[in-house]
């Protein structure tokens, strides 16, 4: 099946009424949850993951993807109007969006955010369609050694690139990998770290882990400030449409942002956050009015928003074609696919074309829904921001509990949320990044399996990882990143010492 056939086939799958309905539903719910202050795409997906267990797999994944980009858009509404981003990506949007909203130009900020998200996504889909089949073909030549090295590179890149404290970040990844070991070992059948609990035989529950780390821990840290926020602006569809001319001003910002986003999104481990920050820096650099930045420059919204959304789409390239999630959200999506019996990887294109092409087609339809839905509904989303958090967080807590319980009717899982939530809250206080823990948790078992397989094939020769050229490239990059992380940390240690010596 060539690309065009595939796309047409995918459109056929994605326009089935059931799938269409869940796509719409996902986009709607995603925006709804994303708008809620302090709740990002990650929490939105974790909250809705259990619900998808009651659906056919195509509908479930299409819906989750819809939740993902819907929540991102909802998050940018919250960061423009309230400066309360749910994710680091939308934090960049707040830099220019919030000042604009303060000046009474919320309509301009929202319109630019919405249209650049849409254009970024559509271009991202085009890139995905062009490159995914290519990468899948390369992927079929990958052996266990290549997979091992690539996943290692992904984890190390996620914890070192752009990280303030690489050692802390990497420690979180390792803790996640250790948690990933819990349960019956696939190869030997040995029961690892189950301590006689039959509930732990299948390992730590992914939903419980995600909800504890992102749901409960977020709720706890937001309760105290729950009465403090207010939105004064009134925004309706007309306020947005009036700003159409802004599009002309930001068209190149959108293209630059999309390029950056598409590139970094497709790299495992780096993803949208870096792309959005970079895009913001680039826009400020090329702008003829850099003094406007920080006071409401629409280019500073357009670039990062398109970067963010094209990265969100191209992040699916390694996830779908290699089975390697680039970031935490993709890790959750991968987990969801496996739960639904779909194994992403080079063979997915051949074995489950309906899934592969259907999902891609649904991205386009979902983004269309997003823009059609959100223009008329903008008033509702803004009104939603006026609901005090005091009413919302009890509901979020209950939905976390019910969501976890519904996965397999286990009160044990709910109890484990208590421990994971407490742990996640302490981690957040100590400024450890729980997202990396989840990434390690999902990738850990895959890394172990591929390590074991590679060593079995090479008869215990560790050099196999360096003898195979692709694997050698990945490993060299990994070693460079670790070296760089060690170097920057050492420099940080030496600086204060030298200052003292100088005093």
């Amino acid at each position: 099946m060539n690309t065009l056939d595939g796309l047409i086939y995918g459109l056929g799958v994605a326009t089935q009424p059931v799938v269409l309905f869940y796509c719409f539903f996902g986009v709607f719910l995603g925006t709804f949850i994303g708008v809620l202050p302090g709740v990002g795409a990650l929490a939105a997906i974790s909250l809705l993951l259990p619900i998808t267990f009651y659906m056919p797999p195509e509908a479930a994944l299409v819906m989750l993807a819809g939740v993902y980009y819907g929540a991102q858009y909802g998050g940018s509404i919250a960061s423009i109007l309230l400066r309360l981003p749910g994710t680091p990506q939308s934090a960049v949007t707040a830099l220019e969006g919030y000042p604009l909203a303060r000046q009474g130009k919320a309509g301009a900020a929202l319109f630019v955010a919405m249209s650049s998200s849409f254009i970024g996504s559509i271009l991202g889909i085009a890139i995905l369609v062009l490159f995914a089949p290519l990468l899948a073909q390369i992927g079929t030549k990958f052996g266990a050694a290549e997979y091992f090295s690539m996943m290692l590179l992904g984890l190390v890149a996620a914890s070192t690139v752009g990280s303030e404290a690489p050692a802390k970040a990497m420690a979180m990844v390792v803790v996640g990998m250790i948690l990933g070991c819990v349960g019956a070992d696939v190869n030997s059948g040995a029961l690892r770290f189950t301590f006689g609990q039959t509930e732990l035989l299948d390992g730590v529950n992914l939903v419980a882990l995600a909800m504890g780390l992102f749901g409960i821990s977020e709720v706890i840290s937001n309760v105290r400030t729950s009465g403090a926020r207010k939105v004064e602006e009134k925004v309706g569809p007309k306020d947005l449409l009036r700003e159409r001319r802004q599009l002309k001003r930001v068209k190149f910002s959108i293209l630059r942002g999309t390029g950056l986003g598409a590139f970094f999104g497709a790299l495992p481990g780096t993803g949208g956050t870096i792309a959005t920050f970079l895009s913001y820096a680039v826009e400020r650099k090329v702008s003829r009015h850099p003094e406007e930045f920080g006071k409401g420059a629409v280019e500073g919204i357009a670039g990062p928003e398109s970067a963010n959304n094209s990265a969100a789409i191209t992040a699916f390239i390694p996830t779908l074609t290699l089975g390697i999630p680039g970031d935490v959200i993709m890790a959750l999506m991968l987990g969801a696919m496996i739960i639904h019996g779909v194994q992403p990887g080079p063979l997915m294109l051949v074995e489950r074309p309906e899934m592969f092409w259907g999902l891609i087609a649904s991205f386009g339809i979902g983004n269309l829904f997003l823009i059609v839905l959100n223009l008329p509904l903008i008033g509702i989303w803004v009104a939603l921001l006026r609901i005090p958090f005091s009413y919302l967080y009890p509901a979020i807590t209950v939905f976390v509990c019910l969501g976890v319980y519904s996965v397999r009717g286990s009160a044990f899982d709910v109890m484990s949320v208590v421990f994971i939530g407490a742990f996640g809250y302490i981690m957040a206080l100590m400024r450890f990044n729980p997202a990396l823990l989840l990434l390690g948790f999902v990738l850990g078992p895959l890394i172990e399996t591929n390590l074991r397989r590679a060593l079995l094939l090479s008869r215990g020769d560790l050099l196999v990882f360096f003898e195979r050229p692709i694997s050698a490239v990945f490993l060299s990059a990994t070693i460079l990143l670790i070296g760089w992380g060690v170097f920057t940390s050492l420099r940080k240690i030496r600086r204060p010492v030298r200052q003292e010596a100088g005093e």
């Binding site: 070991c181 209950v398 509990c401 519904s406 240690i493």
Partner: protein, 148 residues
């Protein structure tokens, strides 16, 4: 001299955890050999790496000052207690009562005063929970304390 106590203790905790994991794995699971690695290999190596990373987090922290975070102890305790109560009640008294009680407990640390809004929120949330999870998704749960 000021120290970053948070990272010192964080690093120490990581190292201790890593050591415990490695020690437990060595004693309980077969390490295997490189040619055929056993179930103990991966956790032992991970535990060892975590010890190193813990040290790498803790040692530099001795040389710089840190900040003390604000701990929302009351909030944390009531939210976590609410989840515990939910876990205990859900299979015993049905979805309506258990979600009602859970919401009431979560609202205790809310800064907004008054009792009425708490009760109303609890009623609304338990009604929505029933609508989504029992009526919508068909979860096999008791609705009332005395059954369906």
């Amino acid at each position: 001299m000021q120290r970053d106590h948070l990272d010192i203790w964080g690093g120490v905790a990581l190292a201790v955890f890593g050591l415990a994991v490695a020690f437990y794995s060595v004693n309980h699971y077969d390490f295997g050999e490189l040619r055929r690695i056993g179930p103990g290999f991966f956790p032992t190596v991970l535990g060892g790496i975590l010890v190193l990373l813990g040290i790498a987090v803790a040692v530099p922290a001795f040389l710089r000052s840190g900040t003390t975070p604000k701990v929302d102890l009351k909030e944390a305790l009531f939210i976590l207690a609410a989840v515990v109560v939910f876990a205990v009640l859900i299979e015993r008294v049905g979805i309506l009562l258990s979600t009602f009680v859970t919401v009431l407990i979560t609202t205790i640390p809310a800064p907004k005063p008054g009792l009425l809004w708490r009760v109303v929120t609890a009623i609304v949330v338990s009604a929505i929970s029933w609508a989504i999870f029992v009526a919508g998704l068909g979860m096999p749960l008791d609705v009332f304390p005395w059954g369906r």
